[in-house]
Every structure is written in structure tokens, then in C-alpha cells.
């Protein structure tokens, strides 16, 4: 019998052992393919140019993520493979005892791995192709486009990529496997099943030291993150490396630490506690690697979920950011994106009178001048010490703008000014409320003005895809004389059917890209509600979708790793549970022991991942809020809910099936 035939028979014979490995592989390949075939899904959709740009952007994001994901999946393969080899060791030992050469045994092992890899590659790709069809519909509904007729989505590029990435991973596992068999003494192979894996677990004292070290490393990471000490790439990488090392050490020493901590205490000698702890620590070699991976995957998952959901929720708020059908903003050209220079007011009106046909919009359009207010001595800081861009707007212009939105006008008392703030999240809101309540005195044209809490308005004043943390002060018109303008805005509401006037409006204004006023170069920017909705509805929704998708994938992947580990553990341990039953432990005690064991295995990575992401989201939240004005901290609750459902479901399913296994055994 050739080695290949023997190998094939082995695979068939140990199908049960291989099932876990096969499932993990198939699952990983399937996800990898679906992820990478996202780009080819656009082929079947009728996309606008903005939408296909979104898809292109998505593709490049997916491209850079797929490397990261393939590393994770590679770990998954090696991890599942480890289980397999452990179970097969004894068999290989018997081959060697019977006089088979190590080369022949290695050859059998290589063939086995090749068969399994090919089978799971084919199965995974088939499953992935099937899943991609469904994903196309989900993506399409999110993008709000139709799929005309049935198209079979098939991405040759994604298949090629999957084969290359997993081919490499398989070669790597092959190398590991052969080395493991070649390296080991015959006696270790034969007695593999009987030995504890205790050898690599740190001694109790070392475990405590390692544990303290891991806490220290994690502390350093958290402090660095909270203090935002990661401006340079070097520091960022350092922080991530320290965090990863801390996580790794944490799980490496966790069971040893628990053992050392409770071994001398009473609870240790209660019920099956000592059995549970010993079970955990005896499996240290396999569990600490998987727990570290699971913890990091969960971390990514939580962050992706909460920011994805945050974006999805932000969409609703964004849509309120389009108060008119269109706006044309005219402002000074910038150099390097810094402070814009000021110009003489009226530039917009003079630019518009130059032979532009805006008669269609005459009744429903109005221009507003936003003045420079840098000399008024406004003392205000947003969250994190950020100074907003300040504008001054006349009361008449402001109330006219409000009227166009259908909002009630602002009424100012003598020596009072109003504050308007578009959007920017809860932090800004709190800061402004405090500022207004404090009076916020300033001097304008020689007069001292104050404000009140009730004069703070939250009204978007321009159509923009960007949430706008600009601060607009509203003052009586007489105080504006002689001021320089900072920007001028033409507010347009369409008098009738949107699409037709959109075309008219764009035709009339699209060439107003540049203008000049007293030698200052001005640039015009027109944005319409339809454009904004398009952009937000597509880009943001798609990114949110991607983030949620990734979050769920990582969540499911990590839960799968744990479930596989626990189930295979339970099947390995059936004889131990039966023994416990023989010496008097009843079913309730056994169930509780299984529950505790599963709880620790599922709970420990989750808890650490939650700690990681609490810090991560707090920091990321500050950053995204500053940059994009998106508040993601609130959605962490929703993310936690999704997590609980999926992860908790996996936990319960694993617990129940392992209990069934033990009860049946």
C-alpha cells in the first residue's frame, strides 16, 4: 500500500477527529473568499458613479484588511491542526514501533494534510461562493440599488487569492506537523494521550510573576492610549506590541495564577472546583494561544461593531444636516488648509449678477454673509481643548435662514447675542451649554454682549456631507458694519420637483468655481441635498455595513475557536467525567463543573477584550468625534447587545452540547 493510499484511509477512518479541523478550515476559507469577493459583487448591480467609487474604496480597504484576516485565519488553521496531531500521535507511534521509517510516517502525514487541505479548500470555496450570492443581495439593499435578474457572482481573483493565502498556510502547517513527528521521542508519541500538558505551564511563583508582569504591560498600554502617546508610527507600534505581549502573558499565566491564588483557600476544596482548575491548567499549552487570539479578535470585533453601529446611527443625524435643497458656499482659497483669509462682503451677490439665470430660484433663495469675528475676544474651547472656527452672522440673515428651514426665529434682547452650532456630538453640546449658561461675554463694535442658555440653537446652516463643528455667533445687524466676510452662502430651496430643479440649479451654478473680490481669490462649492443623501446613504452605510460585517465575522470566528476547543475538550474528557460520576459526583455537580469551565474559557477573553475596547473606544471616540463629529461611545451598548446575542448563544450551545456529550458518554 502506498503512503498516499494509507493516508487516504486514515483520513476516512479518523473522520471524527478530522471533523473539527475540517470545519474550522472550511469556515475560514469561506469567510476569506466572501470577504475578498466583495468587489466583484458590484458587477451585478446598477451603480451610480458615486456608488462605484464607494465600492472601489471598499475594495482597497478590504485588500489591506485581508492580510490581517489571513494571519488570523492562519493561526486558526495551525490551532485546529494542533488538536488533530495530538490525537493522532499515538497512531504514528504505533507505526514507528512496527518498524516504519520516520520518512514514511512523515510522508503519510504530508498526504493526509494535503487531502484534508484540498477537501476543505474545495468545500470552503463552494460554501463561500454560495454565501457571496446572498451577500450581494444584502449589500445591494444597503446601497439601495437593484440587482436586475439573477447573476452568478464568481470572483476568479478572490479564488486565486484564497488559494495562494491558504496554500501558504497549509505549507506552514505541513512544516509544523512533520517537525512535530520527527522531533518527538517514540515513547512520547505512544504515551501522548496519557500525558498532561503540564510541562510548559509556568511554576506557581513564575505564574504569579508573569501575571503581575502582564497586568503591568496592559497598564502601560492603557495609560499610553489614554494619554494619546501614540503620535508617531513607532510609538503606536510599540504600544500595540506591548498590549499584545501583555494579553499573551495574561492568558499564559492566568490558570497558574488562579491555581496559586486559590489553591490554599477553602473554595478550592469545595465541590469540583479543584478538578475544574486543574483541567484548565492542564490544557494550558493549547488554551493560552487560542485565548489570546480570541481576545484580540473579540477586541477588533467590539471596536468594529460599535463604530459600525455608531456610523449607522450617525446616518440619521447626518440626514438632518441637509436643511435646504442646495447651498453654494463662497470663501477664500486656502493655502495648505489653514485659516482662510477674509474678504469684502458682497462678493457672492456680485458674482451671481454676472449673467446667471437664477430667476427660477429667485423666490426661494437668499444669500447670507458670515463675518469674521476673531477680534471679539471669544473665550471658548470644545472638548479636548479644540478651538472651533468662529463666524458672525447678522440676526436678519440668520432668521431668514431659519425661516427657510421652517424653524422659529431667534429673538435677541438688548446687548445679547445668540449661538448656533450645527452638530458635533455630546461633548460639544455640553461645552457649549456650559459656555452659554456662563454668559460668555464678548465685545463687538464697542458694545459688550452676553448670551443665555436659551439663546443656544442647534441648527444646520448649510448643506454638507461633513458634520460641522463650526460655531456661528448671531448678533444684531447694526454691529456688523465695516466687518470683513469669511464666507458667503447662497441658500436655495427648489420651488418644485427636486430632480428637475437640481439639474437647473447645477447648470446655473456649476461654473462658479472661482471668483475674486478685491484681489482675494475665492472658490465656490455647491452641494445639494440629493448629493449629500447619496453620499451618506452609500458611503457611510457601506462603511458601517463593512464594519458590522467584520465585527460579526470576527465574533463568530472567535466563538467558533472557543466552541471547537471546548467541545473537543469535552470529548477528550468523557472518561474523566464518567470517573467522577463513579466516585459519587452527581449530574448536577458535573454540569456545574462543565459550566464553570466553559464560562472561564468564554468569559476570560471577553472580559479582557472588553477592557481593551473600553480604552480603545474611549480614545477612538475622542478622535472620531474630533475629526468626523461622530459619537460612537453611545453605540457601544448596542454593540454589547449584538455581542451578547452571538457570543452568549455560542457559549450556551457549547455548554449544552458538551453536557450532552458527557451525559451520553
Amino acid at each position: 500500500m502506498t503512503s498516499a493510499e494509507l493516508a487516504l484511509r486514515n483520513v476516512r477512518k479518523s473522520a471524527r477527529d478530522y471533523a473539527v479541523y475540517f470545519m474550522t478550515l472550511t469556515f475560514g476559507i469561506c469567510i476569506f473568499y466572501v470577504f475578498n469577493s466583495l468587489g466583484s459583487q458590484q458587477a451585478v448591480m446598477d451603480l451610480s458613479s458615486a456608488q462605484s467609487m464607494t465600492m472601489r474604496m471598499l475594495n482597497s480597504v478590504v485588500g489591506s484588511f485581508s492580510l490581517f484576516i489571513s494571519v488570523v485565519l492562519c493561526f486558526l488553521i495551525i490551532y485546529a491542526n494542533g488538536f488533530l496531531i495530538k490525537r493522532r500521535k499515538k497512531e504514528f507511534g504505533v507505526y514507528l514501533t512496527l518498524g516504519m521509517e520516520r520518512e514514511r510516517v512523515s510522508r503519510i502525514l504530508i498526504w493526509e494534510t494535503v487531502f484534508m487541505s484540498l477537501a476543505s479548500l474545495v468545500a470552503g470555496l463552494l460554501l463561500g461562493i454560495a454565501l457571496a450570492q446572498g451577500m450581494a443581495f444584502v449589500t445591494a439593499s444597503l446601497l439601495g440599488v437593484k440587482i436586475s435578474g439573477f447573476h452568478f457572482i464568481f470572483s476568479a481573483a478572490a479564488i486565486g487569492k484564497t488559494i495562494i493565502y491558504f496554500g501558504l498556510a497549509f505549507v506552514l502547517t505541513l512544516f509544523f506537523n512533520v517537525r512535530q513527528i520527527n522531533k518527538q521521542q517514540l515513547i512520547d508519541l505512544i504515551y501522548a494521550g496519557r500525558q498532561n500538558e503540564i510541562s510548559r505551564a509556568p511554576r506557581p511563583v513564575a505564574a504569579v510573576l508573569f501575571f503581575l508582569l502582564s497586568v503591568l504591560l496592559l497598564g502601560v498600554t492603557y495609560v499610553m492610549a489614554a494619554a494619546r502617546l501614540f503620535d508617531s508610527a513607532l510609538l503606536l507600534n510599540f504600544m500595540l506590541a506591548v498590549g499584545a505581549a501583555g494579553t499573551f502573558l495574561f492568558f499564559f499565566s492566568l490558570s497558574g495564577f488562579l491555581l496559586a491564588a486559590v489553591q490554599r483557600s477553602k473554595p478550592y476544596l469545595r465541590g469540583l472546583n479543584m478538578f475544574v482548575l486543574r483541567q484548565l491548567s492542564s490544557k494550558i499549552n493549547t488554551t493560552f494561544v487560542s485565548m489570546t487570539i480570541v481576545c484580540l479578535m473579540l477586541f477588533v470585533s467590539i471596536c468594529a461593531l460599535s463604530s459600525g453601529l455608531g456610523m449607522a446611527r450617525g446616518i440619521a443625524a447626518e440626514l438632518r444636516g441637509a436643511p435646504y435643497d442646495a447651498t453654494l458656499i463662497l470663501r477664500a482659497e486656502t493655502e495648505g488648509g489653514d485659516e482662510r483669509s477674509t474678504f469684502a462682503p458682497g462678493a457672492l451677490d456680485s458674482a451671481l449678477t454676472e449673467s446667471r439665470d437664477l430667476t427660477a430660484f429667485a423666490a426661494a433663495s437668499r444669500s447670507a454673509v458670515f463675518y469674521d469675528v476673531s477680534d471679539a475676544g471669544v473665550v471658548f474651547e470644545g472638548p479636548g481643548g479644540v478651538k472651533p472656527v468662529l463666524y458672525l452672522l447678522g440676526l436678519t440673515d440668520y432668521n431668514a435662514a431659519l425661516a427657510m428651514q421652517g424653524a422659529a426665529p431667534l429673538v435677541l434682547g438688548p446687548d445679547e447675542y445668540g449661538v448656533n452650532f450645527g452638530s458635533g456630538g455630546a461633548g460639544w453640546d455640553r461645552a457649549l451649554t456650559k459656555y452659554c449658561a456662563g454668559g460668555g461675554s464678548l465685545t463687538l463694535g464697542g458694545r459688550d454682549l452676553r448670551t443665555r442658555g436659551s439663546l443656544l440653537r442647534r441648527q444646520a446652516l448649510e448643506v454638507s456631507t461633513r458634520r460641522n463643528p463650526d460655531l456661528v455667533l448671531v448678533a444684531p445687524d447694526e454691529l456688523l458694519a465695516g466687518r470683513q466676510a469669511k464666507k458667503e452662502i447662497l441658500l436655495i430651496n427648489y420651488p418644485g420637483s427636486s430632480l428637475e430643479y437640481e439639474r437647473l440649479c447645477l447648470a446655473a451654478l456649476s461654473d462658479l468655481k472661482t471668483a475674486s473680490a478685491d484681489g482675494v481669490e475665492l472658490s465656490g462649492l455647491i452641494e445639494t441635498k440629493i448629493q449629500v443623501n447619496d453620499y451618506i446613504g452609500n458611503t457611510t452605510a457601506t462603511i458601517a455595513y463593512l464594519a458590522i460585517y467584520m465585527g460579526v465575522v470576527f465574533l463568530v470566528a472567535s466563538a467558533t475557536v472557543l466552541a471547537i476547543g471546548q467541545l473537543s475538550e469535552a470529548s477528550d474528557n468523557i472518561h474523566r467525567y464518567r470517573l467522577l460520576n463513579k466516585i459519587g459526583a452527581d449530574e448536577r455537580m458535573l454540569s456545574r463543573a462543565l459550566f464553570t469551565q466553559n464560562l472561564i474559557c468564554f468569559g476570560a477573553p471577553l472580559l479582557l477584550a472588553l477592557a481593551h475596547s473600553a480604552v480603545g473606544i474611549a480614545v477612538a471616540g475622542q478622535i472620531t468625534q474630533r475629526i468626523a463629529g461622530i459619537d460612537i461611545s453611545g453605540t457601544s451598548v448596542a454593540a454589547a447587545l449584538v455581542m451578547t446575542l452571538i457570543y452568549g448563544g455560542y457559549f450556551l450551545a457549547t455548554y449544552w452540547s458538551s453536557r450532552n456529550m458527557v451525559a451520553r458518554g
Binding site: 496519557r194 500525558q195 498532561n196 503540564i198 477553602k266 473554595p267 478550592y268 476544596l269 469545595r270 465541590g271 469540583l272 472546583n273 479543584m274 478538578f275 486543574r278 483541567q279 492542564s282 474523566r576 470517573l579 467522577l580 463513579k582 466516585i583 459519587g584 459526583a585 452527581d586 455537580m589
Partner: protein
């Protein structure tokens, strides 16, 4: 009397092929007695042990352990009774390989939810009697077979059960380890007042008992008490009965 078995019957199969594994077995064990049960394979000695240990149920007859009728118990009561009243020693040790010797013994106590503060002392006491104090911190795979079986014995006895049931405890041991184990059984009976019912096919092991029941075809075939005889004489008597058992009596397996 710790154990009273009255007219035990155990039938297998249906009307056409009825097998009577136990066919009217009656015997009793006094407190502090070390009783051996011998018999060829198929004689019904394992069935007898299973019935006494409440793992299997009898077709008819009564088994009283400590005055309570176990044949009338069911479900949870039975599990609890087994846990609190009986101790088990198996042929293949059945130690948990992930636990140290100490923990294996202590486990029997923690399962019974005995107070934790007395656990250490109780384990050390019984370990001292069995001569395994040195191996308490070791894992089973670091012990010899004899040490493992004595740890298993310690686990069975540490809860002070009314009756210890040992199923071929020397079956997997060499003669020296077997002798050491049997001597510790005697020691347990002498110092702790343990009551042991041991099933064995080995005449040498049996010679350590106070009294021996010979089972054949589901009945008590002979009974032999050691009295004040030396172990050597008792051993010869056993060999005599074994040869009388006939059939594959010389090789009782």
C-alpha cells in the same frame, strides 16, 4: 451487620433464553470484616458486586446496607446513598490524571461537601496508614502502579464509608505491589475499622481476607473462614476449594 443480602436473584434475557446470573445468593458482612468473593468468570461474582454497589438492580431479593434496603431506593436517593455510604476501588485505579495524589483523595471529600478545613488532615491521616505520604504532591503518571492503587484505596476510604467495594484491585499489580496493597487493606480494617468486600480471582490475594465466599453458577458454592489459621494454611485451603470449583477452575479467568 453492615451488609445483608437475602436470596438475591438476577435474571437476564427473555422467556426462551433465561440466564440466572444470580440464583438465590444469601450472605452477610459484619462491621470491620474483610470479605473476599471468588469465582470463575461467568460465575456471577461481578453481577453480585454490581448489585451490591447499586450500579445494577436485582430481579428479586433484598440488599440491606447499614440497615437500609437499597433495592427499594431509586434515582437521587440512590446516588446520594452510594456517595455517602460506599467506597469504590477499581482494577484500573481510575485516578484523575490532571489531579495530584492529594487532590485525588481530597476530591472524594469535596464531592460530599465535607467541611474544607478538615480535609487536609483527613487526607494526611489516611495517606499515612497506606504509606503514600510521599506521593501526595505527585501526579498519577509520576507514580508506580502500586502507589496509584493505594491512592485509589485512600480515596475510597477517606470518606469513612460503611462499606468499601474493591473489584479485582490487585489485577493490574505485580506481586510485590499487590502484597503491599493487601497489607494496607488489613491495616485499614485494623486501625480504621473499615469493612471491605473484595472480588478477586487470585488465591493469593484472597488469602488476606477474613472469610471467602466462592460463587458458582449464581449460587454460594462454599464459604471459608480463616479463623486463627496462618495465612499459609488458609491459602492452601483456598487452593483446594478452587480446584473443587472445577471446569476452568485452575485458571479462574
Amino acid at each position: 451487620m453492615i451488609l445483608q443480602a437475602e436470596n438475591l436473584e438476577k435474571h437476564y434475557g427473555g422467556k426462551n433464553n433465561l440466564t440466572k446470573a444470580l440464583n438465590g445468593v444469601t450472605f452477610s458482612v459484619a462491621a470491620g470484616e474483610f470479605l473476599g468473593v471468588m469465582g470463575a468468570s461467568g460465575s456471577g461474582k461481578t453481577t453480585l458486586l454490581n448489585c451490591v454497589s447499586t450500579i445494577d438492580s436485582v430481579t428479586s431479593g433484598r440488599i440491606l446496607i447499614g440497615g437500609r434496603d437499597v433495592t427499594a431506593m431509586s434515582g437521587k436517593t440512590l446516588a446520594r446513598f452510594r456517595r455517602e455510604t460506599l467506597g469504590f476501588i477499581f482494577q484500573d485505579f481510575n485516578l484523575l490524571d490532571t489531579l495530584t495524589g492529594f487532590e485525588n483523595i481530597a476530591l472524594a471529600l469535596t464531592i460530599l461537601r465535607r467541611p474544607a478545613n478538615a480535609t487536609k488532615e483527613q487526607v494526611r491521616d489516611v495517606a499515612a496508614v497506606l504509606g503514600i505520604t510521599d506521593v501526595l504532591p505527585k501526579f498519577p503518571y509520576q507514580m508506580s502502579g502500586g502507589q496509584r492503587q493505594r491512592v485509589a484505596a485512600a480515596r475510597a476510604i477517606v470518606t469513612k464509608p460503611a462499606l468499601v467495594l474493591a473489584d479485582e484491585p490487585t489485577g493490574a499489580l505485580d506481586s510485590q505491589a499487590a502484597r503491599a496493597l493487601l497489607e494496607s487493606f488489613q491495616e485499614l480494617v485494623r486501625t480504621r475499622g473499615a469493612t471491605i468486600l473484595m472480588v478477586t480471582h487470585d488465591a493469593f490475594s484472597a488469602s488476606y481476607c477474613h472469610r471467602i465466599l466462592f460463587i458458582r453458577d449464581g449460587r454460594v458454592f462454599r464459604e471459608l473462614a480463616r479463623g486463627n489459621e496462618s495465612r499459609k494454611v488458609f491459602f492452601d485451603q483456598i487452593i483446594e476449594v478452587v480446584s473443587l470449583l472445577g471446569g476452568d477452575g485452575h485458571d479462574l479467568r
